[in-house]
Symmetry: C2
Subunit: 357 residues, 2 copies
DNA sequence: TTTGTATTTGCATTCGAATGCAAAAATGCT
DNA sequence: AGCATTTTTGCATTCGAATGCAAATACAAA
């Protein structure tokens, strides 16, 4: 039985062949055996761009289908040194901005053939742990929309794991960033507010160590000054609904003699908390007695109860950009860093009106 | 196998082995070489419960630390057939219930040493794709909080991938489930509403093919009947805010002569949409002219603008249970299925009041 | 047909950690 | 010390797919 090795079709005489154990998942060898080809051929069939004849492809695919074969991404990852996993770091805190970003990024990653390995991060130790996990799982890259210290970033850098920062960056260290700079829109919005007669404003900021908060606050302060609007009170929040509410109370305490006519909140969640506090607790009508604006443009801000005037981030485009940048850096890790800055957009809403006289 | 280049014996020839290429990540062999032990020893050091002497452990750990060695989860997964990845399927649609569940589950998985591979699913084709991806990535299990057809489930079953359903299940097929059955609380709440004088109600349901919606709707219908409250209108929504709003319009159309005094929405998002529509568009005061209740107990429902009366799911405990069940099934795939049913809790809020006379 | 070139295919090895088995070392017991 | 027993350690192999290289084939030109 001189079986031609090139055409070793599984014949009845091949009784030493283990018949695909029930339940065990098929490997490229199983497919190769069934199709009567080599394992390499099977591998090449599933690797786009490989040199393979259409006849071969057809034969292999038929066998693969029969065995429900799908290449094992784990094994593939081991040999190619590409896991196709991207760690996505978001804050788990209930700021609705994050879910929106997360879902968008996940979709974009998916479209690029990558999977999102999700990590929720609340503090520095969490980040520490996440970095180790990411290292273990050999993620191809990290998209970070949560806090990360410069030292932590340097660890990733040293390990040559590409990182894209989402709405945060280090000013004094090269890094790849997607960012939304609402400077223009802040001016635009403050101009409107000025035209509406507002002369006394308050600001509810985020945590002082937070980049986004700092940047936005500076823009807002600059713009208000430019239009001659006085900041009569300023409170610090932590981006949550509750801190928006308590922020307003603090503002009230700071401006005992006369409340400002306008509160600028550094994100939408706080703006909503602020608005609710104004109306439900302080009995101030929004916008008639108090105008409120926010930042981000989260979906919920547009609900009829809020109709928040805000500056929206182009989350869709930013997510797309972030994924594009991570794939780029995975392909060519040595290319120089890039910072993509998007503009915001003023979303007019019912939360602002002419200042009361 | 011929000459294995990775022999453990340190020899002169090994001395001029490339001394850890800058940037290349350290492997267990590198650590073994530096510590002067075998690769197996290194492996055992990082596998809890392995037989190893403290002297050896110390030596290896020192070397590991020096090289920043962390075991490669990909390689480990290949040999152990455990990826430590769990696919989490949620709907990407903006129903804020999902982010809450997702974040909770992710945290619980993390505590159990597992990572969440996130998939957003919108339709059946998505699920199809996700199942293939999960297969490729050798996930240890799937937690599904999104739609999955019985056929799709059977594929996973055949492939022996454990699945835990979150708030959905197949009645006529054995499966592992975490579920919240609000039957008791529906009765409790309807009793309250009855005592408040409500006699004419409307219901906004979810999609008819959705289990959660069907179950809740049936409970609500049964309870209302039991208390002699008439259902004067019923609209179908899709769990979104918008569909709550349009649902109320439909109810208004259906009950041209007289609006009901009560609308029961099958989830909170729709209840919020409904409430906003009632107040902002129809000019109906909530709760004075119209009482509204929801289901889920999402954080946002408690904002001052809504103060939604609702039946809350114990998401924390449910997530914990889901993760526990997935790990159990990974350990012992042949054990029988289990269905863990949690009760809800009535969250009193300002969205209900005595029925207008 | 023959020769030369381009394309396919298979072989053998590789990625990095885990593990059964046997050898070696440490420990206990008399 | 001698021997039995337990614990540690190393060796060699395994997981499943990708790939450099060489062999085999198909194709083109002479």
């Amino acid at each position: 039985m001189a079986n031609n090795p090139r055409k070793n079709k599984p014949s009845e005489t091949d009784d030493n062949v283990i018949p695909l154990i029930k339940g065990r998942r098929a490997t490229s060898y199983d497919v190769a055996r069934l199709a009567g080809v080599s394992q390499s051929a099977v591998s090449r069939c599933f690797k786009p761009g490989s040199s393979i004849s259409s006849k071969m492809r057809e034969r292999v695919m038929k066998a693969a289908k029969e065995l429900e074969y799908q290449p094992n991404a784990i094994a593939r990852g081991l040999i190619t040194q590409r896991s196709n996993l991207v760690a996505v770091l978001v804050s788990g805190r209930l700021n609705l901005y994050y879910p929106e970003v997360l879902f968008k990024i996940t979709e974009e990653l998916s479209a690029a053939g990558l999977r999102a390995l999700l990590f929720t991060v609340e503090n520095e130790e969490d980040t520490e742990m996440v970095i180790e996990q990411a290292w273990q799982f050999q993620v191809d890259g990290v998209i970070s929309a949560s806090h990360m210290s410069q030292d932590q970033y340097k660890i990733l850098e040293k390990r040559q794991i590409p990182v894209v920062f989402f709405n945060r960056y280090f000013a004094d260290h090269p890094n790849t960033v997607v960012y939304c700079d609402p400077a223009e829109q802040v001016n635009e919005l403050v101009a409107q507010l000025s035209a509406l007669g507002h002369r006394r404003a308050a600001v509810i900021t985020g945590p002082s160590e937070n980049m986004v908060s700092r940047e936005r606050t500076i823009r807002v302060q600059g713009s208000l000054a430019q239009f001659g609007i006085e900041i009569v009170a300023q409170a610090q929040g932590d981006f949550t609904y509750e801190s928006g509410a308590s922020g307003l109370q603090e503002i009230k305490a700071q401006s005992a003699d006369a409340m400002p006519s306008l509160v600028i909140c550094i994100n939408d969640m706080m703006a909503m908390g602020c608005m609710d506090e104004a109306q439900s607790v302080l009995g101030l009508s929004v916008p008639d007695e108090l105008s409120i604006v926010g930042f981000d443009g989260i979906g919920m801000g547009q609900f009829a109860s809020y109709e928040l005037t805000t500056i929206r981030q182009p989350i869709g485009r930013m997510s797309e950009a972030a994924v594009k940048m991570i794939t780029d850096r995975v392909e060519r890790p040595d290319q120089s860093h890039e910072k993509r800055v998007f503009e915001g957009a003023v979303i007019p809403g019912g939360s602002i009106a002419r200042a009361p006289t």
